[in-house]
Homo-oligomer: 147 residues x 2
Amino acid sequence: MEFKELINRYQIGISTVYRKVNQIMKEKVHEDITTDQFATLQYIYQQEACTSTDIAHAFGVGKSAITNQVNRLHKKGLIIRNQDETDRRNIFLHVTADGKEIVEFTEKELTIALTPLLSQFKEEEIYSFIHSLERLANLLEGKDFNQ
Amino acid sequence: MEFKELINRYQIGISTVYRKVNQIMKEKVHEDITTDQFATLQYIYQQEACTSTDIAHAFGVGKSAITNQVNRLHKKGLIIRNQDETDRRNIFLHVTADGKEIVEFTEKELTIALTPLLSQFKEEEIYSFIHSLERLANLLEGKDFNQ
DNA sequence: GTAAATAGTTCACGGGGTGAATAATTAAAC
DNA sequence: GTTTAATTATTCACCCCGTGAACTATTTAC
């Protein structure tokens, strides 16, 4: 099979989708935070006990990058730092009531914005697409190359 | 249908794929330029007559952002500026021999890197995935998906 | 008990984005 | 045909985001 053409189509498609969804995000996300800050906030919101190192690993960036992000969110009063008493090196992050409100509101708004778009697709096509996307993600993560 | 869960899965999947492919890009792209710079260079390479405004529109960013990008590429000797003689406001961008070499080499390397990954998928699944991706991109490009 | 490992921070630096203001050029209006 | 408007590219000040090395504090290992 000739992959070069497919890779090119993939690149154009995925960058368009990524960019446009980001544009929609920008419109819906609370105006006081950026889409990157929202992604971090949302990740903390979804985790049980979350440290800077966890986020750095999940997002594939260095720890110092997360320190900055956490500082910005902390300055806005959206998260709090809690030092682990059993191992004082660890600092667990939690969203505040304000942060929680922003995440839940934004998620709702995003769903409202994207639903009419997804409605254009047949149910099987959506599931098939997401399944392939997740398989591709897993392969790239290096989880199960043998399937 | 319940879209919230699907949107969440989409977000996780696409950000993972985007990040991982970007990581592969970083390894393969000429070390003197960034992946963003490569994307710009590749776009100029693919166009016939390309202006800053074209790129800004294609990438969904402001014109001043492109001016900076173009400056960086120009400083590295990868592109040249040609003023349009019939309309002296337009400045057409072209890649130099060095720039062309970088684009072609990187594209080849990327294909080599991604081929073993794509080989894990059945041919129909790849075509189906790319088709859905392109349909999604087209819907997002069109303003009125509200029908 | 000293050395190594780990978690988080700070710092200097660069890439990348915005949006308003500007200069240069062309198109349109009267 | 001059004035006005539109368009292209640039500059500027400002912020967000990332790196990587050096650092502090704490825990673990030998």
